[in-house]
C-alpha cells in the first residue's frame, strides 16, 4: 500500500456546512404538520403518583393530546438494561412515562403534544399531578445500608455485586496474602463526584409516523442500537423503523443510551399520526439526561519498603441513580480491568457494588470506568511515594511494565500488546522541564511563598477499541463489539464508504477518506463517507469507547481489500492476463513485467456496463466487511501538570500542562490533537470545576449552566502536546484510539499536582472538584489540626 494520506493533517471534510450555518442538527428539522412535545416532570425525587389530572391541559390552546403513564402503560414496556453484570442483578422497571411511582426529580409523568413548542410548554403548567412523597436516599454510602429504599418495589438498594479476584481467576496471586504480608500498606477512600456529560447540543428527537416505515431522527451516538431497542421494546418490526442520527452536537457517552423521550416521542407520533418533535431544554438535559462517574472507591495498596507494589484491593460503591440505564451497570466493570494500569502488580481484587439512589441514572461519560480506575491508582502511587519518601516517577518506573516485556498479560487478565512507557515519560520530562520546576518548588516552600507550586504526574494506559465480541459475551453484555463497513465503487470510479460507526464530531468522514484513498489509490476528494442512517448504513454498532478507527476503520480497510480482489479478476480479464500476474498499486492494476495497466475507474465502468466481464462474474465491485477485533488496544502516555495554589485564597492555576500520548499509528494528526485537547479539558473539569450537586430533598442544585461549571476558555491553559508512536500489534494499521485518553489521564495529574503543592502544609486530600473553597478549607483545616510545619 502506498501511503500518502495516512499520517497527513488533512483539513476536515465535515467543516464546510458547520462553519456556514448549514447544519443538520435534529432540532433544525421541520416536517409538514409537525407537532411539538413538552414533558411534565416530577419535582420530587421519590413519590407515589396518586392522580394525574390533564383536563385543563387538554383544553389549553393549541394542545392536541396529553399522554400519561396510564395512557401508554400497555404499550410502553420498560427501558432495557443490556448489561446484567451478574445473573441475579436487580433492576426496577423503567417505564418511559412513570405510572405509579417516581424515583428521581425530573422523571417524566406526562407528555403534552401541541401545535407549537410554546403551546406545549404552556400546557405543562396545567397538568395537575398529585404526589405522596416518599423518603429519599441521596447519599451513596447511606444507600448501601438500605435504611431508606430508593424504590418501594425493591427490598434493597443493591443491584448487583461483581467480583474479580486474581487468585480465583488464575491471573495472579490471592490478595489476602499480599495485604497480610505488606511491609507498607496504604489505605485510602476516594470520591468520584457525579458529573454530567453536558454535550453542547441538547437532545432532540423528531419522529415521522406518516409512512409504513416510521422514521426517527435523534441526537444519538447509537442509531443502530436505538433502532434495535425501539423495535424490541415497543414491539415494532425492526424493518419498520428507520433511525437517523444527522449532525450530532457531541455525546461524550451521554448519548450512548436510549432515553425515555425517544420512546415517548415515537408513541406520541404514532398516536396522533403526525410528525412530532421533542427538544429538551438545557435544564431538562442536566436534570434528566444520564450522569457519569459517581463512585466511592476504597483502596488498599500493599508494597515492599523499597517501593515494589505487591497487591491492590479495590472496593467500589457505584451509584446507578434511580434506574439501570442501557449499559450503566457495566460502566464500573469497564474500569475493573484498568486499576492495575501500567504496573506489574502480582495480586489484585476488585469488588463492585452497584447501588440505587434517588438521583438521575448514570451511564457512560468519556472514559467510562477507566478514568475512575486511573485516578485511583495514580493517586495511590503518589500516596505510596510520599509514604516511602520516593520520587513519584521513580516509584512508577520501578513498577511499570518495561518496553521489552511486551506483550504482557496483566493481573486483570488482559494482554497488553505493545507500549513504551519509558519513551513517553522521557519525552514528557524534557518538554516539562521537570528538574527546574522541582527546584522552584523547593524555593517557594523555603520562602513560604503564598503561591505554592506542585507537580502532578499521571502515567496511564486504557483499553480502547471496544470490543472483542467474545470478551463482551464473557462479561454478559448482550451485544457484540464488531463493526461493519461497505465500500461502493460508482461507475465513475468515485467511492462511497458506508460506516456503521456513527460519528458526532470525531471526523470520520475525513479519516475514513484518508484510509480508503490510500488503500484504493484514489484521490481523497473522490471518497464520500456515509453514516448515521440505518437505511444507508444498515449494520453497525456505532461510536463510543475509542473504537471507531481500531474497529470501524479496520472494517473499512477490509471492505476496500475485497474491492481490490474483485477488481483484480476483471483487470485480468480486460488485459488478458492471469490473475496471479496482476499487481495493484496507486489505483492501477498492471500486468507484472509489462507496461500494461488499467485504472480502478476504468474497471468500475466496465463492471457497470457489464458488457464484457469474465464468465460468472457478478457485476459489482461493492464489498461489505464486518470486523471483530481479537483484542483491545492500549494507548498510554505520561501527563505532567505544574499547579500553582494560592494558599491565601485557595485559587488553583494550571501553570503548565505537558502530555505525551502514544496512540499508535496516527491517520490524521490534526484530529488526534483535537481529541487530546478536548479530552484534557473534560478531565481537568472533573479535577477542578464540575460536580452535579443535589440537595437533601433530591433536587438538582446544579440544574443550569449557571451552576454546573463547564469550563470556558479562560479556565483552561495552553496545552503542550506531543506523541510517541509504538504501533499496536493487534490491528493491521497499528492504531490504538484517542478519544478518551486526555480525559482519563488528566484528572489525577491535576489533583496530584494540587496536593503536591500543599502537602507540606499538612493537607492530605482534597475532594474533587478542587474548587478554591475546598482548597482553602483544606488548608484551614490543616492549620487547625497543626499540620503546618
Amino acid at each position: 500500500m502506498t501511503t500518502t494520506e495516512v499520517g497527513r493533517a488533512r483539513l476536515r471534510k465535515e467543516d464546510a456546512h458547520l462553519i456556514t450555518g448549514r447544519s443538520k442538527y435534529t432540532d433544525n428539522i421541520t416536517l409538514p404538520g409537525m407537532l411539538h412535545l413538552a414533558m411534565v416532570r416530577s419535582p420530587f425525587a421519590h413519590a407515589k403518583i396518586t392522580s394525574v389530572d390533564t383536563a385543563a391541559a387538554k383544553s389549553s390552546p393549541g394542545v392536541v393530546a396529553v399522554l400519561t403513564g396510564a395512557d401508554v402503560a400497555a404499550e410502553q414496556g420498560s427501558l432495557p438494561n443490556v448489561w446484567p453484570i451478574t445473573p441475579d442483578q436487580k433492576a426496577p422497571a423503567f417505564p418511559s412515562i412513570a405510572v405509579d411511582e417516581v424515583a428521581f426529580a425530573g422523571e417524566v409523568v406526562a407528555c403534552i403534544v401541541a401545535r407549537s413548542a410554546a403551546a406545549a410548554r404552556d400546557a405543562v403548567e396545567l397538568v395537575d399531578v398529585s404526589y405522596d412523597e416518599l423518603p429519599v436516599v441521596m447519599d451513596l454510602e447511606e444507600a448501601f445500608t438500605d435504611k431508606v429504599l430508593a424504590h418501594s418495589s425493591l427490598d434493597s438498594n443493591l443491584s448487583a455485586t461483581w467480583v474479580f479476584d486474581s487468585g480465583e481467576a488464575g491471573t495472579g496471586k490471592p490478595i489476602a496474602a499480599a495485604l497480610a504480608s505488606a511491609e507498607v500498606l496504604i489505605e485510602r477512600t476516594f470520591y468520584q463526584q457525579r458529573l454530567i456529560p453536558a454535550f453542547m447540543e441538547p437532545r432532540s428527537i423528531v419522529v415521522d409516523p406518516t409512512s409504513e416505515q416510521i422514521t426517527m431522527w435523534s441526537s444519538t451516538q447509537v442509531p443502530h442500537i436505538l433502532r434495535l431497542i425501539l423495535a424490541l421494546t415497543l414491539g415494532i418490526p425492526e424493518s419498520k423503523v428507520r433511525v437517523i442520527a444527522p449532525d450530532v452536537g457531541g455525546g461524550f457517552g451521554g448519548k450512548l443510551t436510549v432515553i425515555p423521550e425517544e420512546f415517548i416521542t415515537l408513541m406520541a407520533a404514532r398516536r396522533v399520526g403526525k410528525p412530532c418533535k421533542y427538544t429538551e431544554t438545557r435544564s431538562e438535559s442536566l436534570q434528566a439526561g444520564h450522569h457519569g462517574r459517581a463512585q466511592v472507591q476504597r483502596l488498599k495498596l500493599s508494597a515492599t519498603k523499597d517501593g515494589i507494589v505487591t497487591g491492590l484491593d479495590v472496593n467500589l460503591l457505584a451509584d446507578m441513580g434511580a434506574y439501570l440505564g442501557l449499559i450503566g451497570s457495566g460502566i464500573p466493570i469497564l474500569g475493573a480491568f484498568m486499576y492495575n494500569a501500567i504496573y506489574k502488580f502480582p495480586a489484585y481484587r476488585l469488588e463492585c457494588n452497584n447501588i440505587f439512589t434517588n438521583k438521575a441514572w448514570t451511564g457512560a461519560y468519556r472514559g467510562a470506568g477507566r478514568p475512575e480506575a486511573t485516578f485511583a491508582i495514580e493517586r495511590m502511587m503518589d500516596e505510596l511515594a510520599v509514604e516511602l519518601g520516593m520520587d513519584p516517577l521513580e516509584l512508577r518506573e520501578k513498577n511499570w511494565i518495561k518496553h521489552e516485556e511486551f506483550p504482557f498479560t496483566t493481573v486483570a487478565g488482559l494482554e497488553y500488546d505493545s507500549g513504551n512507557y519509558e519513551a513517553a515519560t522521557a519525552k514528557a520530562l524534557e518538554l516539562f522541564g521537570y528538574d527546574a520546576l522541582r527546584a522552584e518548588q523547593v524555593r517557594r516552600r523555603e520562602t513560604n511563598d503564598p503561591v505554592q507550586l506542585g507537580i502532578g504526574i499521571s502515567t496511564f494506559t486504557e483499553m480502547c477499541g471496544l470490543a472483542p465480541s467474545r470478551v463482551l459475551g464473557a462479561l454478559s453484555y448482550a451485544a457484540g463489539g464488531w463493526e461493519h463497513a461497505q465500500v461502493r465503487v460508482l461507475p465513475t470510479g468515485n467511492i462511497e464508504v458506508i460506516t456503521g460507526s456513527s460519528p458526532h464530531g470525531q471526523g470520520h468522514e475525513t479519516a475514513w477518506s484518508q484510509l480508503v484513498a490510500d488503500r484504493l489509490g484514489v484521490p481523497f476528494e473522490n471518497v464520500e463517507v456515509l453514516h448515521g442512517d440505518t437505511q444507508s448504513s444498515p449494520r453497525g454498532l456505532d461510536t463510543y469507547g475509542s473504537r471507531s478507527l481500531t474497529v470501524g476503520g479496520m472494517a473499512v480497510l477490509a471492505a476496500a481489500d475485497k474491492v481490490i480482489e474483485k477488481a483484480r479478476v476483471v483487470a485480468a480479464h480486460m488485459m488478458e492476463a492471469s490473475q496471479e500476474d496482476i499487481e495493484f498499486a496507486d489505483g492501477k492494476f498492471s500486468v507484472r513485467g509489462t507496461e500494461q495497466s488499467t485504472a480502478l475507474g476504468e474497471i468500475a465502468f466496465a463492471v457497470f456496463s457489464a458488457h464484457n466481464l469474465p464468465d460468472g462474474f457478478e457485476p459489482s465491485l461493492d464489498s461489505d466487511a464486518t470486523f471483530d477485533p481479537q483484542n483491545f488496544s492500549f494507548p498510554h502516555g505520561t501527563h505532567l501538570a505544574a499547579m500553582e495554589v494560592d494558599t491565601e485564597t485557595g485559587q488553583v492555576t494550571i501553570r503548565k500542562y505537558v502530555c505525551v500520548d502514544d496512540v499508535g499509528v496516527v491517520v490524521n494528526p490534526l484530529i488526534v490533537e483535537g481529541q487530546v485537547h478536548g479530552g484534557l479539558a473534560q478531565g481537568i473539569a472533573q479535577a477542578l470545576y464540575e460536580e452535579a450537586v443535589y440537595d437533601d430533598a433530591g433536587t438538582l442544585v446544579t440544574g443550569s449552566f449557571v451552576d454546573y461549571l463547564v469550563p470556558s476558555a479562560p479556565d483552561l491553559p495552553h496545552f503542550t502536546t506531543a506523541r510517541t508512536e509504538t504501533p499496536s500489534t493487534t490491528n493491521q494499521l497499528g492504531a490504538k484510539g484517542v478519544g478518551e485518553a486526555g480525559t482519563i489521564a488528566s484528572t489525577p495529574a491535576i489533583v496530584n499536582g494540587v496536593l503536591d503543592a500543599v502537602r507540606h502544609l499538612g493537607v492530605k486530600d482534597i475532594k474533587m472538584p478542587c474548587s478554591p473553597s475546598r482548597v482553602w478549607a483544606a488548608l484551614e483545616e490543616a492549620k487547625m489540626t497543626g499540620g503546618v510545619q
Binding site: 467543516d15 450555518g21 453542547m200 447540543e201 457531541g250 449552566f705 470556558s712 479562560p714
Partner: protein, 175 residues
C-alpha cells in the same frame, strides 16, 4: 397569550416584517420564523453562547433578547457572514486550525470572535480567552479556537482553502 406586535428586522441583508408574540425570543424568531437554523440554542440561561449573533454589528446572545427588541435593527447570523460566496476569514480560520469538532458551538463562537476582533484587532492569547468567556465548547478544549482567532487576527489564514505545509508539519510532529 398576549396580542402580537408587528416588527421589521433586517436579517443577513434581507428585510422581514412579521407579527410576533411579545414573548418570542430573537433566536426563536430567527430559527422558527425565518428558518435561520444556523443559529443554535444550547442553554436557557445565556451561558453557552451558541445563539450569538450580531445586532447592528455587535455580538448579542439571541436567546436573551425578544424579537420585538430587534424591531428596526439589523441582525447578522452565521449564515450571513460569508460574502460573495467566499468564507469570512474567521470561518476559514476555524476550518484551517481545526477549531471545531461537533460544530454546535461554532456559529456562536465565530460570531463572538468576529465581535472580539472588531473591538480588539490584535488581541493577546489571554485577551482572546477572556473575550470568549461567554461561549462554551465541550469538544476542543479551546486551544484551536484561540489559535483560529489569532490566525484571523494575524492575517495568516489562507483564503483559498489550502493549509500551508508549515502548519501541516507542525501538527504532524512525532519524534
Amino acid at each position: 397569550m398576549a396580542s402580537s406586535k408587528t416588527i421589521t428586522v433586517e436579517v443577513d441583508d434581507v428585510s422581514y416584517t412579521d407579527d410576533v408574540e411579545p414573548r418570542l425570543l430573537l433566536v426563536q424568531y430567527l430559527r422558527e420564523r425565518l428558518g435561520k437554523t444556523g443559529t443554535l440554542i444550547g442553554c436557557d440561561t445565556t451561558n453557552c453562547g451558541a445563539c450569538t449573533v450580531h445586532l447592528d454589528g455587535a455580538s448579542v446572545k439571541s436567546c436573551t433578547m425578544f424579537a420585538v427588541q430587534a424591531d428596526g435593527h439589523s441582525v447578522t447570523t452565521i449564515e450571513g457572514l460569508a460574502r460573495d460566496g467566499k468564507l469570512a476569514p474567521l470561518q476559514q480560520a476555524f476550518h484551517q486550525c481545526h477549531a471545531l469538532q461537533c460544530g454546535f458551538c461554532t456559529p456562536g463562537m465565530i460570531m463572538q470572535s468576529a465581535s472580539l476582533l472588531d473591538e480588539n484587532p490584535h488581541p493577546t492569547e489571554q485577551e482572546i480567552r477572556d473575550g470568549l468567556e461567554g461561549n462554551l465548547c465541550r469538544c476542543t478544549g479551546y486551544q484551536n479556537i484561540v489559535a483560529a482567532v489569532q490566525a484571523a487576527a494575524d492575517g495568516t489564514v489562507s483564503l483559498d482553502g489550502t493549509v500551508s505545509s508549515d502548519s501541516e508539519a507542525e501538527t504532524a510532529g512525532v519524534a
